[in-house]
């Protein structure tokens, strides 16, 4: 077991990799009654083409399978739905699917081990029938319909379409009504058997636990003990550069929304944590609430709230997103692009931004759910979240301005607008 201790923030993380390849991460928290566990498989909406390990056959699955499978995991042979069973125990249970993983989780103050029994049982015992697969189609159809009405979602999907030519990150996570009509129980079993093997899974636990003890409890409940071969995923080759410059959608909203995207080259992602921090420093310094441009845009009535920034990264994609709302998104876009092209991060902004980001990171440790989610989504990308707190001190201004040059000055951006 690997133990990483950080004295500055009084936190430790315990990492254990089991013989079957599954990774367990425990972040113990004293003085808290809430306990949180999240268990994920590295199977997301972009994994729609792979080699089935058992047969060696190449398989292409309809869009939206990972999400459909997430829904069906709660079904049991005895007819009892695990989600309801966990809720009846007073646990806040849920599941979600992203581009690169599917996660099952619960939080609660009591009945933790009963919940863990149920969670680890349903994730390890699929039960799909023609009938129960069919029943889900209407519900997921409604879920897709709900997304269709959400401007934020449209904004994001259109940005991906601008940035990428072939990468399946362009696709809707839940698929379309048409694509999910082709999903059968055979397809679900094939995906389950491929991706829901412990060697492809990570579990994060946070709460008032003895790390060794909780890891033993998890081990006891694991059904597959042997390791699996590595899964071969097939992704289409992505071209360099963007797909299209701009995309607009009309959804009849009063305050237009915009999202600006910068595509990052994957081969330049050697130290992602350091890079992520540099990007946060750049965007906080040049576009954040203390920047000249933000004040200008606010005073001109072009921005009402600060911009949302994020750096999304996986093994097949990497990009920076800058989003906001404005009556004149094109003008805001021009100003942002100009600022990133012309300005550099000053020493003063650099120091202040570092203080702010340090505070933001420490604040994440307020809540076991935040901790669990953060460690999980980082672990999916082979990052250890604890690195952030150390690397914020290591970073220097030269590195920051170097990233600024490569990512924002020499790179073409895209713009998605929803009106």
């Amino acid at each position: 077991m690997k133990i990483i201790k950080n004295n500055k923030i009084d936190e430790s993380v315990y990492i254990e990799t089991l013989e079957n390849g599954m990774k367990i991460i425990v972040v113990p928290k004293k003085n808290t009654k809430k306990k949180y566990v999240i268990w994920a498989t590295k199977f997301g909406s972009i994994d729609n083409n792979f080699i089935e390990p058992k047969t060696g056959k190449e398989i292409k699955v309809p869009d939206g399978v990972a999400h459909y499978l997430e829904h069906k995991m709660f079904e049991n042979e005895n007819g009892i739905d695990s989600l309801y069973k966990m809720m009846a125990l007073g646990l806040d249970a849920n599941a979600y699917t992203t581009n690169d993983h599917t996660a099952f989780l619960f939080a609660g103050t009591d009945n933790f081990y009963e919940g863990l029994d149920e969670l680890m049982n349903y994730v390890q015992s699929p039960y799909f029938t023609d009938q129960n697969v069919e029943k889900e189609r209407g519900i997921i159809g409604q879920e897709i319909g709900r997304y269709d009405d959400e401007p934020d979602w449209k904004l994001y999907v259109n940005t991906m379409d601008c940035l990428y030519t072939n990468n399946p990150i362009k696709l809707d996570i839940a698929g379309t009504v048409e694509s999910i009509s082709k999903i059968t129980k055979e397809i679900l079993y094939s995906c389950y058997n491929t991706f829901y093997h412990p060697s492809n899974m990570v579990m994060c636990i946070s709460g008032d636990f003895e790390p060794e003890k909780i890891i033993e409890e998890v081990k006891k409940r694991i059904k597959t003990k042997e390791k699996n071969e590595e899964i071969k995923r097939i992704y289409p080759k992505e071209q360099k550069g963007i797909n299209k410059k701009q995309k607009e959608a009309n959804m009849g909203i009063n305050m237009p929304m915009f999202m600006i995207g910068y595509k990052d080259e994957l081969e330049q992602c050697d130290d992602v944590v350091k890079k992520d921090l540099a990007i946060q420093i750049i965007l906080n310094s040049l576009l954040g609430k203390t920047s000249k441009i933000y004040q200008e845009l606010y005073n001109d009535g072009l921005l009402q709230t600060s911009l949302d920034i994020s750096y999304e990264y996986s093994k097949t994609y990497a990009h920076v997103l800058i989003a906001g709302e404005s009556t004149d998104p094109k003008k805001v876009y021009e100003k942002i692009e100009q600022t990133l092209k012309k300005e550099n991060v000053s020493e003063e902004d650099f120091e202040r931004s570092k203080k702010k980001i340090y505070g933001d990171i420490v604040t994440e440790y307020n809540d076991v759910e935040e901790i669990g989610r953060m460690y999980l989504s980082d672990a999916i990308k082979d990052i250890n979240s604890m690195d952030y707190i150390d690397k914020i001190d290591e970073i220097d201004i030269e590195y920051v301005n170097e990233i600024l040059n490569k990512l924002f000055k020499e790179n073409e951006s895209v713009l998605s607008i929803v009106r």
């Binding site: 808290t32 009846a88 009591d110 409604q142 009405d149 009849g252 305050m255 340090y358």
Partner: protein, 393 residues
């Protein structure tokens, strides 16, 4: 100042609440006050200086806004800062919060005109963009229709017509009145807390009276057409005023979580919706049922929901439904202690309504509720307003 001591968090959270009775003449002008206060103070005259100071305080965050609590309007101000142990240098967060609330930038007996004009414009846009969030809009609209002509039917940001009439002098006058007459509550939650000091006031009058405005049953059915793929159906129910613990349990059995009657029947049995649930507005004696359905399923959905209300009245509640409903409330209540914002919100509500129940006592009251209590109560719950936001059929 109310102190909530806890070792659970890495940060301290402080809050100042200014509470006034809500009414249609002042709802708009009051909603503008927090927006203008956060633009500048005497010591930090612009947003830029305020934000720089916050970042220098290791990413402290200041938040403010306006809320509707029962028939009150509450102006809320928060500051969150790392607790001393994690701060490389000590900071004075409460002084900064006091500065923001009680020491605004004043020019010629008014707020700074530029700030007022810009924030008026911002609020106008918020009001005009209400329709952008369909789920929130449809709930707001149902509340508006159900409480038409009553205080609770007012929108928390007010209206554009009244907004136009406000200038920097009138706004400053209203601010002074509120500082002098509003009920003021201060909270701190965390460890090694600093004190919050309120300026001396010359008014002894308390504007707050603990009465909930009487509500007449409306029996409305409202349909509104918009360009949406999925229709939003909201149904407003009226509940008795007491016993709130029993009504809470009733609400969870009906529509709290995946074991509830609504979720099981509207979603699982009929596959009509992805989400179906209900929430209880304790301070207004109302329950709102919310679900998203296809436009053509309107009649069917309303029928199924009404049938669930009948089932509750007829006492058709299984032990599973009852027990898991109760468990859901008690466990979500016990999670309040895991969030500083929720802790402050809980104790503020308890103080404002003079109930002052400790959290564990409150949970005990829920534990005591029996199935018979719920069945007996069910006959007193009445459907009031149905609101449907829909697209093309």
């Amino acid at each position: 100042m109310n102190i909530i001591k806890t070792e659970t968090f890495k940060t301290n959270l402080y809050a100042i609440f200014l509470t006034v009775p809500m009414n249609k003449d002042t709802v708009t002008i009051n909603s503008l006050i927090p927006a203008v206060l956060r633009r500048g103070t005497e010591k930090y005259p612009s947003q830029l200086e305020i934000n720089k100071k916050l970042e220098e305080m290791y990413g402290a965050s200041f938040n403010c806004g306006v809320d509707k609590m029962g028939d009150y309007q509450v102006l809320k101000f928060y500051i969150e800062i790392l607790s001393n142990k994690y701060l490389p240098e000590k900071q004075n967060a409460t002084k900064f919060l006091e500065e923001l609330v009680f020491n605004p930038l004043v020019e010629n007996n008014g707020f700074k005109r530029e700030y007022v004009d810009q924030e008026k414009e911002n609020i106008r846009r918020i009001i005009e963009s209400r329709k952008d969030n369909k789920a929130k809009y449809s709930l707001d609209r149902c509340i508006e229709e159900m409480f038409e002509g009553e205080i609770y039917g007012l929108y928390k940001f007010g209206n554009v017509k009244d907004l136009e009439k406000i200038d920097e002098k009138k706004l400053y006058e209203q601010y002074k009145k509120i500082i002098n007459e509003a009920r003021i509550d201060c909270f701190g939650c965390g460890k090694e807390l600093e004190n919050i000091e309120i300026p001396v006031r010359n008014s002894k009058e308390n504007l707050i009276k603990n009465e909930i405005q009487k509500h007449e049953i409306k029996n409305k059915e409202i349909k509104e057409k918009m360009d949406v793929t999925q229709g939003k159906l909201i149904m407003g129910l009226v509940t008795p005023e007491e016993p709130k613990s029993v009504i809470s349990v009733y609400n969870t059995i009906l529509g709290g979580g995946a074991n509830s009657k609504l979720f099981q029947n509207v979603r699982e049995k009929e596959g009509l919706a992805y989400s179906a649930g209900s929430s209880y507005i304790r301070r207004k004696n109302a329950i709102f049922i919310k679900t998203g359905i296809e436009t053509s399923n309107y009649k069917k959905a309303v029928e199924i929901i009404k049938k669930q209300l009948e089932e509750m009245k007829n006492g058709n509640i299984t032990d599973d439904e009852f027990n898991s409903g109760k468990k859901l409330i008690t466990s979500s209540l016990s999670l309040i202690q895991e969030s500083q914002e929720d802790l402050i919100a809980y104790y503020f509500d308890q103080k404002l309504y003079d109930e002052n129940l400790e959290l564990n006592k409150y949970i005990e009251n829920i534990e005591k509720v029996s199935k018979n209590d719920v069945i007996n109560l069910a006959k007193d719950i009445k459907l009031d307003t149905i609101y449907f936001l829909h697209g093309e059929e």
